[in-house]
Amino acid sequence: MSAASERVHMRESLHAAPSLRLELDAATMRFGGITAVSALDMAIPRGLIAGLIGPNGAGKTTVFNMITGFYTPSSGAIRFNGRAITGLAPHRICKYGIARTFQNIRLFSGLSALQNVMIGSYLRRKSSWWMAPLQLPLVRREAKASFEQAMHLLERLDLADVADQPATALPYGAQRRLEIARALATQPQLLLLDEPAAGMNPQESAELMDLIRGIREDFDLTILLIEHDMKVVMGVCAHIWVLEYGMCIAEGSPDAIRGNPAVIKAYLGEEYDANAQD
C-alpha cells in the first residue's frame, strides 16, 4: 500500500469512528502451532471502562502484549485513535498514549517510589542527555515539572508519604497503586490494567473500584482491565469481552455477560449444565 493511499485509509477510518479509542480488527497471535488469540475484534469508545475476562490461559495478557507492542500480531490490525499501531515498538506506542500495569508487579527496584513515577515523564522530555552535564535551564525546568507531576500523582494515589522509600519496600497494595501512578505519569489516553485487584481483600478492592472510576474522570481516560474478581469487573466495567482459548465467546454489558450460558460454561464447566438440568 502506498503512503498516500495509507493516509486516505487512515482518514477514512478516522471519519468512520471518530470516538473510538482502541480497535482490534481480527487480531490474531500464533506461537508456532498454538493460537493464543484468534481473530479478536474489539472496539472501545473514548471514556469507556471495559473489561477483558476469561479463564486462566485464555489469552488475555497476550491481548495486552499485542496492544502495547510486545508482540506483533500474526495477522489483523490494531488501531489507536484511528491510527494503525500494529507492530510498533512498545516505547512508541507508549508515546501515542497507551500505558499499562503488570499482572506480576514490575517496579524499578533500585529506585524510590517518586523516581519510579518520574520515569513516566521521561518520554515527553524535550532535553537531550548531553544537556544534563551542561546544566542547561531546560533540564532543570523539566526536572522540576517532572517532580511536581510525580508528587501530584503520588498524592492523588495516597502515596505521598512514602515517596522517598524504595519502591519494592512498599506494602503490596501500595505497590499496585504505585504502578498505576507510574502509568499515569506517561499521560496516557488509554490505560490497560492487568489484574489490578489481584491479592486484594474485599475492602481494598472496593477502594480500587472507586480509584478506577476516579482516575477515569480526573485524567479523561479510557480503561481496559483484565480481572478475575467478578465483583470488580461487574462493578466498574460498562462493557465486557470474554475470552476462552483465545476466542471471544461473548461480549456485552455486565448483565448480559452474567446471564450468558457460554460464559457460565467457560467458567464453571459442563458439569454445571448437567446439574442444572437435573
Binding site: 502495547t68 510486545f70 515498538a89 512498545p90 516505547h91 507508549c94 508515546k95 500505558a99 499499562r100 503488570f102 514490575r106 517496579l107 524499578f108 527496584s109 533500585g110 529506585l111 523516581q115 518520574m118 520515569i119 513516566g120 515523564s121 521521561y122 518520554l123 522530555r125 532535553s127 542527555w129 544534563a132 552535564p133 546544566q135 533540564v139 523539566e142 526536572a143 517532572s146 507510574r182 502509568a183 506517561t186
Partner: protein
C-alpha cells in the same frame, strides 16, 4: 535551595583542598609515590566508566581493555615526535601520513609558547583517544547490545581480543607486537586528576538527570522500562558509548603515564583489575568506585614487599582480601550508596 548552594560551596572547597594536596604532593613526594597517586586517578576514571555500563545500566561488559587500548594507541601516536616514530617502526615502514602527525607540533605553529603547545596537544590527543574508543563503542554496541547477561560479557570480551589482534597485525600503524616506547610522559598529576574530576562531573550529573534514571530503569526492569516509553536499546547504546569514551581517556592517560605500551598489556587481566575495583567498591556507587580504586591501587603497591618472600605471595594475599570483601560485604564497600553532603550534615541537624 540553600541546601543546593551549601553543597555547591562545599564541592568547590573540596576541589580546592584536593588541588592544595596535589600541590603539596608534587613538592614533597618522590616520583614513585606521585606515580601511585596518578594511577589512583586513572583507575578511578576506568572504574567509574565501567560502573556506568555495568553497575548503572546493568550491561555485563568485559571489553574495557579494548577501549583502553584504542585510547592509548591513538593518544600515543598523536603525541610521539616524528623523529621517534621514524626510529621506532622496525617491523614495517610507518604510514607516511602518520609519520609526521604530531599534535604538539601542530599547536606549536599556533602558539609561540612550546609548553602551551605541548599541553594543548596532549589535551587533544587524550580527547581524540576517548572519541576513537567511543566510536568503536557505538560500532560494537549496535550488534552486540541486543544480547543480555553473560552473552554480552562473552561478546565484549571477544571484541577486546579482536582489538588486540588488530593492533598486533596493523604494524604499519601501531608498530605491532613491539609496542611503542618512549611516549612523552605528559600525564602529570594535574592532568590525571583534572580528567578524573571531569569524568566524575559528567557521569554524576548525567546519572542524577532523568537520563540517569532511565539507565537505572533499564537495569532494574527492561520490560517495564519499555512500557514506560524508554527506548531501551538507545539507552544501552548511549551508556555503553559514554563508558567507552572514558575508558579510552583512561587508556590514553595510562599511555602517557607509563610511557610504554604494547598489545600484551591490554589483555583480559586489565579488564579484570577494573572489574575488581568496581565490584569491591560497590556496583552502582560512584563513591564506591573512587574509594575502591584508592584502596586497591594502594594495597597492590603496599603488598609489593611481600613478593620478596616468595614470588606471587602478593596476589595470594590480595585474593584473600577480595574474598573477605565479598564474604562480608557482598555488595561491595559502598553497596549502591553514594557520598553526599546531606548525609554528613543530617546528624547535626537532629541534635
Amino acid at each position: 535551595m540553600t541546601g543546593a548552594r551549601r553543597d555547591c560551596l562545599l564541592n568547590v572547597l573540596l576541589i580546592g583542598l584536593l588541588f592544595f594536596l596535589l600541590h603539596v604532593a608534587e613538592q614533597q613526594l618522590d616520583a614513585y609515590s606521585i606515580r601511585i597517586l596518578s594511577l589512583v586517578a586513572v583507575n578511578a576514571i576506568l572504574a567509574v566508566s565501567l560502573n556506568l555500563i555495568y553497575g548503572f545500566t546493568g550491561m555485563f561488559s568485559l571489553g574495557h581493555a579494548g577501549f583502553m587500548a584504542i585510547g592509548a594507541y591513538v593518544c600515543a601516536l598523536l603525541i610521539l615526535s616524528p623523529a621517534q616514530k621514524e626510529s621506532m617502526w622496525i617491523l614495517e615502514e610507518i604510514q607516511p601520513w602518520l609519520a609526521h602527525l604530531s599534535a604538539p607540533q601542530l599547536f606549536a605553529g599556533l602558539f609561540s609558547d612550546p609548553d602551551m603547545a605541548r599541553q594543548l596537544g596532549f589535551l587533544c590527543a587524550v580527547s581524540l583517544g576517548g572519541l576513537a574508543a567511543a566510536l568503536c563503542g557505538i560500532v560494537i554496541a549496535l550488534p552486540v547490545l541486543r544480547l543480555g547477561g553473560d552473552y554480552l560479557g562473552i561478546a565484549t570480551l571477544g571484541f577486546a581480543e579482536i582489538i588486540r589482534v588488530l593492533i598486533v597485525n596493523a604494524a604499519s600503524l601501531t608498530n605491532g607486537s613491539l609496542g611503542i616506547k618512549g611516549i612523552p610522559q605528559y600525564a602529570t598529576l594535574w592532568w590525571n586528576y583534572g580528567w578524573l574530576l571531569f569524568t566524575l562531573y559528567v557521569i554524576v550529573t548525567l546519572l542524577r538527570s532523568s537520563t540517569g534514571a532511565a539507565f537505572k530503569a533499564v537495569r532494574d526492569d527492561e520490560i517495564a522500562a519499555r512500557v514506560m516509553g524508554v527506548n531501551t536499546f538507545y539507552h544501552r547504546v548511549l551508556s555503553f558509548t559514554i563508558g567507552a569514551f572514558f575508558a579510552g581517556v583512561g587508556g590514553a592517560l595510562t599511555a602517557a603515564l607509563i610511557s610504554t605500551i604494547d598489545p600484551k598489556m591490554f589483555n583480559f587481566m586489565l579488564t579484570f583489575n577494573v572489574l575488581m575495583i568496581v565490584v569491591a567498591g560497590g556496583l552502582g556507587s560512584i563513591t564506591g568506585s573512587v574509594i575502591g580504586s584508592v584502596v586497591i591501587t594502594v594495597m597492590l603497591e603496599l603488598l609489593r614487599p611481600v613478593d620478596s618472600f616468595a614470588p606471587g605471595t602478593r596476589m595470594v594475599l590480595f585474593s584473600l582480601l577480595l574474598l573477605g570483601i565479598i564474604l562480608f560485604r557482598r555488595k561491595g564497600l559502598m553497596g549502591t550508596r553514594e557520598f553526599s553532603w546531606h548525609i554528613l550534615f543530617r546528624p547535626r541537624r537532629q541534635q
